[in-house]
Symmetry: C2
Subunit: 356 residues, 2 copies
Amino acid sequence: MNKKIRIIDIAKMAGVSKGTVDRVLHNRGNVSESARLAIEKVLEQVNYKTNIHISGISLKRSYKIILTTPEVSLGAYWESIHNGIRHALEEYENVKVELQVFTYNQYDIYSCRQTFEKIAGFEMDALIIGPTFHEETLNLCKKMDDRNIPYIFVDSTIESAAPLAFFSADHYVCGSMMAKLITSIIQPQTNIAIFHAVRTGDRSANTTILRKKGFADYLEKNRCTNLVLSIPFSVTEPENNEMYLFRLFGSQRDTPAIVVLNSRGNLIADYLEENHIEDVKMICMDLTSANIEALKKGRIDFLIGQEPEYQGFYAMKTMLEYLIFKKPVTKQNYVQLDILIKENIDFYKRLSNMMY
Amino acid sequence: MNKKIRIIDIAKMAGVSKGTVDRVLHNRGNVSESARLAIEKVLEQVNYKTNIHISGISLKRSYKIILTTPEVSLGAYWESIHNGIRHALEEYENVKVELQVFTYNQYDIYSCRQTFEKIAGFEMDALIIGPTFHEETLNLCKKMDDRNIPYIFVDSTIESAAPLAFFSADHYVCGSMMAKLITSIIQPQTNIAIFHAVRTGDRSANTTILRKKGFADYLEKNRCTNLVLSIPFSVTEPENNEMYLFRLFGSQRDTPAIVVLNSRGNLIADYLEENHIEDVKMICMDLTSANIEALKKGRIDFLIGQEPEYQGFYAMKTMLEYLIFKKPVTKQNYVQLDILIKENIDFYKRLSNMMY
DNA sequence: CTGTTAGCGCTTTCAT
DNA sequence: ATGAAAGCGCTAACAG
């Protein structure tokens, strides 16, 4: 429609100067009632949106943001989240932000506690958290609440915390999707083995619990009669896994279908391959490079992705817009659950090549 | 690492002024050999990337871009492509571009011919084409080639044309995906009915041919023994469809599985619903509102999306970066093929809420 | 309280 | 051929 409206246009319409309009737009105070009203009236009529990039170059202040997540390993889940975050910073290159990253060992509660305690003492304008341990995270959040520092969760959220927002998959739905997919490609009587991660020092991660529940509820609601075997799966003590797997495939006459609730499905796929166990249907989580490889080899049938880059990107974008413009934020942000098969995996990219 | 590098930094390092650096960066000429070499040497050492947003505000020139596609209807495929294109313009709000849109009736070759002839006479800096009819499109392209006007395809491409780039799904792979999905959820002996669009005045659209081939090849390669019934499907003469459907479901003892190669799967789904034909497995294309509704109702089992918004967005983004910066472009751009089911459709958003 | 001015990084114009 | 300067829309600092 009508041309793009600028601050100077508003100023003229309201009969004031640019400076005053800027003060009103950003609530900087020092504006007379009458001027404010005049400007607000104009603002209602025109559709003004401040241009974040131009704003960025003139903005003097810089922001310090801390990011804490489980350790990042190459081609794995958390790396994608970090990538998304960096991506957002590139996109908003004109905004001055200093990012500080602290990772912890997600299988060791003490590492997490220690890291979080350190973080809690630092100066910062905002915090982005990839939570794992419930109590530790809650503790950190409380301290942030006290200091009035905004924080956003990625990957999952914690019920009793009060984040500015969270970006996460709906893990319950994720579980039902896995149930639907696996049951649609196997015979009604096939057993299903579900692998879930166990950690030291904490009950099962929240994500796992939710997925498991979603899975079970789906089967019940759809009157699926498959026998479900729940199998613990340790990343820190892999020798136990061998044992479980051996038992599973040694004792069973019929090879079961397999669902892996964490991102390490590739380990199971590799075990099957090494032991020449064929024709097992598998559904796994997350587009790690190892999982993608197993998918391409035909070892995994469906892989479910949860847009980690998108999560990271939007967490940072949201935070920046909140810090700079006090832009109102949507608290709950459920990301897409992507279904990948051998055929479409090569086209999967999501944010990776996006300039955003 | 090292701080962000600006033109002035390069100028100082090369011992020249900003103006000269700018002239070199954008090949504007009027630069002495010695100055050019000095600057190029610096450029090799530093990592300079011109900031498109800042560049945008200072850039005087404006671009006129024409977009031509099949007619847009609410909630349908082409609307998403247009949305993506507008989205890109918003994102690059600082760049001055005038967009002119011309749509044609994709089921009427004369409408297409007429529209394209009109377009061919206009002044423009670039063109984005959603092609349908082979010869007509090729004609338009030739004229553009002569006038040295760059054009980009969205949705599909045309072999013998010379576009700057195209953004399209790999329709052949799309066909095999449909084959894989349908065969994985039905019994080996179930018949499969494939619906494909017919148009007046042209052989089948290229996309349909490719999908059909991908479908057939998959079945053959995987030794699927399902009987495949190929059924023409007309958007312009719906009464014939009723007849075909009646025959199909009237004569057959076993209800077949259904695959619809165009975006009108909802029509078949509605027919089934009205006639109380239950337990038919269906796989359809494109996330039109009608298809999404049918998916949610459980009438469609899998819906395949081809990121129309992404296609539009990137077509425009690519064009702008090419026009402004002469940025080298990747010609072949295959978009993602998304698999949607009842469970994950609600989280599907793709670009729609992206600021990108 | 408010208008004016300088400056962000970039392009463009205008002298030189 | 080249440097200096003005201007894009915005924020910040400074006089009044």
